[in-house]
Amino acid sequence: MFEKLDQIFVTLKHLVLGYVPEALQPLVSALLSVTLILAVFPGIFAIVTIFERKGIGRIQNRYGPNRVGIPFTNIRLCGFGQFIPDGIKSLTKEDIVPRAADKVVHFLAPIVMLIPVLLAYAVLPFGRNMTVADFDAGLLFFFAVGGAVEISVFMAGWSSRNKYSLLGAMRAIAQMVSYEIPLILSAVTVVMIVGSLKLVDIVAAQNHYSFGIAHWYVFTPWGLVGCILFFIASLAESNRSPFDLPEAESEIIAGYFTEYSGFKFALFFLGEYLGMFAIIGLGITLFLGGWTSPVSFLTWIPSYVWFVTKMIAIVFVFIWIRATLPRLRMDQLMNLAWKLMLPLALINIVVAGIWHFMGSDWQRWLVCAAIIFGAYIVLGRGLMQHQKLGKRTYRYAE
């Protein structure tokens, strides 16, 4: 029975495709998958904005939104209906375009942000047999469309003819480009071990169980470090705290989307959160086993439920990190990417190679763990040497 529940979306799609003539079947299949993605992920986005506001509120000793239910009715949802008035507000606000702005580019920037982000969902395996487009080079496709988001950031910052927007856009692009390198390098370790760029193969390689625990790559030394590097880099890719200097309100008002109001701002916001979900989905696929369950006696739970559960759990961790850490300054951010994460990602690749070539005995755990954690400690301590954090001295004007 649970297998039927697991494959319910696939069987529904086949059912609908049976009524469609042969020639139109690929088109209708693609339309159905795209409709499902467009229905589910903005819905998750709406719920996550509520969870974020309530979660950050609780961490900061206050309630989040806790009164709004469904408007025009008497249903009180303890604040979970807040996204409905937020959406209506962003749709009805006046759309102001600065007089000196580049109108065509200003108009196209949110669209150019949203299209690659939505394209990225096409390769993620949401469940068993539930990938929209299983490319041979699926992982490369994901990173390629991730790189296209930076063009839209530049378009937004330049077309506003506002020097703060431009500054925010340049900072955002520098940050995104710098953090793409540890992101891709930490994903390369998984590709090395699996031997394929297909995301379905990567999930299938993690679908084995020994002693009841799944063979997720996060449970290996190189996988743990790779996972942490990947998620830190994905925080920076989606411009989220503590890496949100390009768009923080107290720093640069809204950075590259200062001059956007109303629905265009909502589109940027949506694009940012959808990008965050897509990268989390990729991280789950690479390191956390995709749609597989962690223990062998829970495999009866449907695969897409596992995927969404893991995604929401990682989103909670991101919200937790946002509420805890202060913002990183631009030079601290760049130092982190180039001086700590890049060497660590390179050493991680070497360690993954050692793991593969040492066979499957127990010594490889010790050797790999020793190398990678030793490198981390050496890098961490070494990078702090030149910072003389002593007692503060003052120099007074004469």
Partner: protein, 215 residues
Amino acid sequence: MLGEQIIKGMAVTARNFFGSYVSKERLTTVQYPEERLVPKENTRQFPFLVYDGDDAEKGLRCVACQICEKECPPQCIYIVKSKDKKPDYKGQPQLYPLTFDIDISVCMSCSICVEVCPFESIKMDTEFELSTDDRFGALLLHKQDLAKPNSHYHRVHAQDAKDSDVVIAGEKAKAEAKAKAAAEKAKAEAEAKAKAAAAAAAAPVPATPPPPAAA
């Protein structure tokens, strides 16, 4: 720089998050206006006039001395004295205010009027939900809005009301004692005068020469 401080920080925030569901100290927000915080003893907002007993006209302690009007820094008090007098709590006839207006859009809650009042008649109230949509009329409080009973004063400032009552009782007792002493003195004087009058009436009778009884 190994990241252990980050983990410690995240443990603190996690404790805050889970603690906010169980303990009041971790979620100090009060859901106003359904729940309200208990105001402190010396909360103050705008002044009010105290009256003893049940009748606001008869029991009003204010005697329109206009000291508060003169001492008020933004000059938000406007008093018009009455022409006739009525007895106050000490029994002495005093003037009373015909008009007593406070403009609370001007009042800055400095409570100088309270400090200088010699009759314990103007005190600070704690009412703050006074917002209205009438910018000019509704923010000018008249005597009938300002006069509140002594029981209200006890409710909002228990300790100050008790002290005020002690002062008032002391004054009353002093006044009564003075009145009694004056009454005693008057009675004593009257008795002495009566005695002297009686002695004067009795003494000159034998002092006059006896009328010629031989004739």
